[in-house]
Symmetry: C2
Subunit: 153 residues, 2 copies
DNA sequence: TTATTAGTTCTGCGATAAGAGAACCAAAAT
DNA sequence: ATTTTGGTTCTCTTATCGCAGAACTAATAA
């Protein structure tokens, strides 16, 4: 029952885990993704993850599947080996940023819908709302553009 | 006990509320902020909010104070009137975006710290990590720049 | 055919969150 | 001096989360 992860690595997993928790990821998934980023081998099996993090099977299973739906991790298989080898999908960040930025679109549309239904009496306030919507549009467009620029660099 | 908010407005409050919930705000605060955006009068008192949303005093109080700490709302007072008049701080968005972008810095530093402690055996993986950190730096810098550009427009 | 592997799914439980309602409190009005 | 106003804080309930542990399952191995 050897451990395969150093004290320093364990410490980094916790530290990174906390950062990921602050980004809205539950403790166990956060640790799993951290492990896959920190472990010497960037491809680990279910049981290696489970053992390194001392998680239950259910927690491991749920964490992995959650991260898979988020596309934060992926897995490969090896011929003649039933196990899956999970890895952190480091380069999904661009896609994930893009998606969250485009998600602001719903917010912007909502602001415009509110504006259309507002009393016209509150001139100053409505102007602010409109400016907000315009800023959002601008921000969305420009943010996407900077990601594109990075990709075509 | 008249109502001061139309059916349509009530509907918009719910719709906007749900969007804000998806951004991580609890139901009651989400409704309060939505109300302050949608209501004909953009400045409402504690009791007007409470009554329009049919919330308990504690829920109203907590929601308001939570939104105040987030700077999503503010309040003014009127001379010789003990009540506070709450309003949605529409223009805090730029500040709030800026802050959340700068928050990515901690993530980037973490990535670099991980990189410094990684085995050098996994060349490809480490290269990806480095590229991620570089992308993050770029994204942070450029995002801040686009907000600045909007402000100096 | 039976056992093992590589997980998944199903309770169950402790911890936290959201909000109601009532008690509470300080400042102002009566 | 006591009542009212404009809240805040405390207690309790219900709901949901995060996870462990055990039961389960489908595919492979013996």
């Amino acid at each position: 029952m050897e451990n395969s992860i150093t004290e320093k690595q364990r410490e980094l997993v916790e530290k990174f885990g906390v950062i990921e928790e602050q980004m809205g990821i539950a403790p166990a998934p956060a640790r799993v993704n951290a492990l896959l980023t920190i472990s010497d081998s960037p491809e680990l099996t279910f049981d290696e993850i489970r053992e390194a993090l001392q998680l239950s099977k259910s927690a491991t299973s749920n964490a992995i599947n959650y991260l898979l739906t988020l596309d934060r991790i992926g897995y490969k298989t090896k011929p003649g080996d039933r196990k899956r080898y999970f890895y952190s999908r480091l380069n999904q960040w661009k896609a994930s940023f893009r998606k969250s930025i485009l998600g602001l679109d719903g917010y912007t549309n909502m602001i415009r819908e509110i504006l259309e239904n507002r009393t016209t009496d509150t001139v100053q306030f409505n102007k602010q709302l409109e400016e907000l919507a315009n800023f959002m549009d601008y921000y969305i467009k420009e943010s996407i553009a900077i990601i594109d620029r990075w990709e075509k660099r």
